[in-house]
């Protein structure tokens, strides 16, 4: 499958994400924030970094870049979209996912190997895992605190839209220890920690992240409307 990875001005992890896509068995297609088309990709990854310098709010400017109009439209048709870290922030700013990400409650940048529990293994990006799997991947953020109002949190929990939860302590003040969420359809996933850094034994904290890049199936793509 062809998976597009968007580079915004200030993206950091786009090349790592492309590499993870290839290790996951797919073709990586570089997309630029100024692109007006998605070059025929089957899915899109919005990588981590500090797009547009985090000006205004993290992800706020990126959300209005030309390529995001295409991504939002395609996500509406069911195209799988994975937002990692800054990508998660962009998905929330785009209202493709509910809630928002604010500055860590302890006000420090956190960089560590983070244990997570996979809570939903039926999304487009997590089907390679089993519900309840515990994985360790890299976490690095300054504004990773997931917030939403109580009603939204209850709905996310009730509908199984919490994709991953922090274990061994909450690293950033995220409400209900939420590390990642999905939309109702399960094609859009936002995750604060970085699976793309954990796909090879040589670097990083093991290979627990690879599942995010091997989950996409032809069955999933068949559900995307034309």
């Amino acid at each position: 499958m062809k998976i597009g990875v968007v580079t915004f001005p200030g993206s950091l992890d786009d090349v790592d994400a492309q590499r993870a896509v290839r290790i996951g068995g797919h073709e990586a297609v570089a997309l630029w924030h100024g692109d007006h088309d998605l070059r025929g990709v089957d899915a899109v990854v919005l990588p981590g970094g500090f797009s547009y310098g985090d000006y205004l709010r993290c992800g706020a400017i990126s959300r209005f870049s030309p390529v995001m109009s295409e991504v939002i439209e395609a996500a509406g048709r069911g195209m799988p979209v994975l937002g990692i870290c800054n990508g998660f922030q962009i998905l929330c700013e785009s209202h493709l996912l509910p809630g928002a990400l604010i500055r860590n409650d302890h006000r420090r940048f956190v960089c560590r190997d983070q244990r997570l529990r996979i809570e939903n293994a039926s999304t487009a990006w997590t089907s390679a895992y089993a519900e309840g799997d515990e994985i360790t991947i890299v976490l690095k953020n300054g504004e990773g605190g997931f917030v939403a109002d109580e009603a939204t949190l209850d709905r996310l929990e009730g509908e199984g839209q919490v994709v991953a939860r922090y274990l061994d302590g909450n690293p950033n003040g995220s409400l209900r220890d939420i590390a990642g969420i999905t939309n109702a359809r399960g094609n859009v996933v936002g995750l604060m920690p970085h699976p793309e850094h954990c796909v090879e034994e040589l670097t990083g904290a093991g290979t627990d992240g690879i599942g995010f890049f091997t989950s996409l199936t032809a069955d999933w793509l068949a559900t995307v409307s034309a």
Partner: protein
């Protein structure tokens, strides 16, 4: 030239770590008596021509769309007349 000012503040129920940092710094500098600090943003928009209701409606739209994130922030729009010296 008239300015339209948009003040954006984190919603009361949203944690404001930056405000907390400022609150913590004040007593260290010898400033007493402040019990809470909330930090927001102020946007000053200079507009061409008169600030009509249509202009204000557009600024509201800007504030909702880009200047604030309604999930975590509230905003207020007001007009600030330029300081003009009377002769």
């Amino acid at each position: 030239m008239p300015k339209v000012v948009v003040d954006v503040m984190p919603k009361p129920e949203i944690l404001d770590p930056q405000g907390k940092a400022v609150l913590g710094a004040l007593p260290r500098l010898g400033f007493q008596g402040v019990v809470d600090v909330r930090q927001g943003k102020r946007f000053e928009l200079e507009v061409a021509g008169e600030v009509t209701d249509a202009v204000l409606a557009q600024v509201h739209e800007m504030a909702e769309t880009l200047l604030s994130n309604p999930v975590i922030e509230n905003f207020e729009v007001r007009v600030e007349q330029g300081v003009e010296q009377s002769a």
